[in-house]
Amino acid sequence: MALGLEARLGDSVLTTKLDEIINWGRQYSLWPMVFGTACCAIEFMSAAASQHDISRFGAEVVRFSPRQADLMLVCGTISYKQAPILKRIYEQMPHPRWVVAMGACASSGGIYDNYCTVQGIDTVIPVDVYISGCPPRPEAVLDALIAIQNKIQTESVLEDRHKDFKGILD
């Protein structure tokens, strides 16, 4: 989201150079926030632990406060009762923010095809990367993180991503 000076400068050399520097910084200092409601969160803990060591990608500062985080990992089943909480926590995160839907439950509901489970969190908040698996291996979490990093590289500070996203709670 462009605010202040860069919004006035528009798409010029200054802002594109600024993009490069800022994207470089954002890429290697993602602060994840785990919205862990089920077993996928345990696999995330494994990814953060010494064997897989998510800090090799600069993302080891796991904050359980959305105000300081910019990468949200939704790890687990989201019920319709939980959906407004998820939405609220997502909105509490500062721009820019990225979302990873980890595992079958968060991505599509998985085996919980029933009245109370959200059939994919992309009906509530915009999702950047989906991970398949039940639960996925920690390596898949690292793959998703690399995918997010590659995605950040192509972004611009001028653009407001997912501006016209409309979920079921909007």
Partner: protein, 174 residues
């Protein structure tokens, strides 16, 4: 009967220990010792350098699915719907068509697996009477930017080769 009381010697009461500074430096020496030892020689670190070093996957590991083929390249699947019926998350969608090569009466014209719905339980492999669907590709990490691209079809399932030899697969790993 009296209770046995063991008097534990209290530590940290001397002047140097009360000062804390010396103890902080002692602790930091241990920490920095570990830091510099690992910085100079990182071969003893417990980290698996993932994107470069792949993990060892056993033949019994249930990875991404694939459809096996006969020697002449035709699909082994006879579209009996066993896997689709047995699937707990309803992620398999088969459409049967007529088969003309004389092997059986039916074959799948559409075989979609929604990898985001799939919970990798392996019930489809157990249910299959023709050994047509297997999870021995050794693909352990499936990620994507879009939900639609993880709905894989018949071609993609048939193209994927098995990750292990037939002997290893039937032995189930060493």
């Amino acid at each position: 009967m009296s209770i046995k009381v063991r008097v534990v010697e209290r530590k940290g009461r001397t002047f140097l220990e009360q000062l804390y500074l010396v103890e902080v430096v002692k602790g930091m020496t241990v920490t920095l010792g570990h830091f510099f030892r690992n910085l100079l020689d990182n071969s003893r670190l417990y980290v698996r350098h993932y994107p470069e070093v792949k993990p060892e996957i056993s033949p019994r590991w249930r990875g991404r699915h694939r459809l096996t083929r006969h020697e002449d390249g035709s699909v082994k699947c006879v579209a009996c719907f066993m896997c689709q019926t047995n699937c707990p998350s309803n992620c398999i969608m088969i459409e049967a068509g007529e088969r003309f090569d004389g092997r059986s009466e039916k074959m799948p014209v559409k075989f979609d697996i929604d990898l985001l719905e799939c919970i990798y339980c392996g019930y489809c492999v157990e249910a299959c009477p023709m050994d047509a669907i297997r999870m021995d590709t050794g693909i352990f990490s499936v990620t994507s930017n879009s939900r639609e691209s993880l709905l894989i079809g018949l071609e993609q399932l048939m193209e994927t080769p098995g990750g292990f030899s037939e002997v290893d697969y039937h032995k189930g790993g060493g």
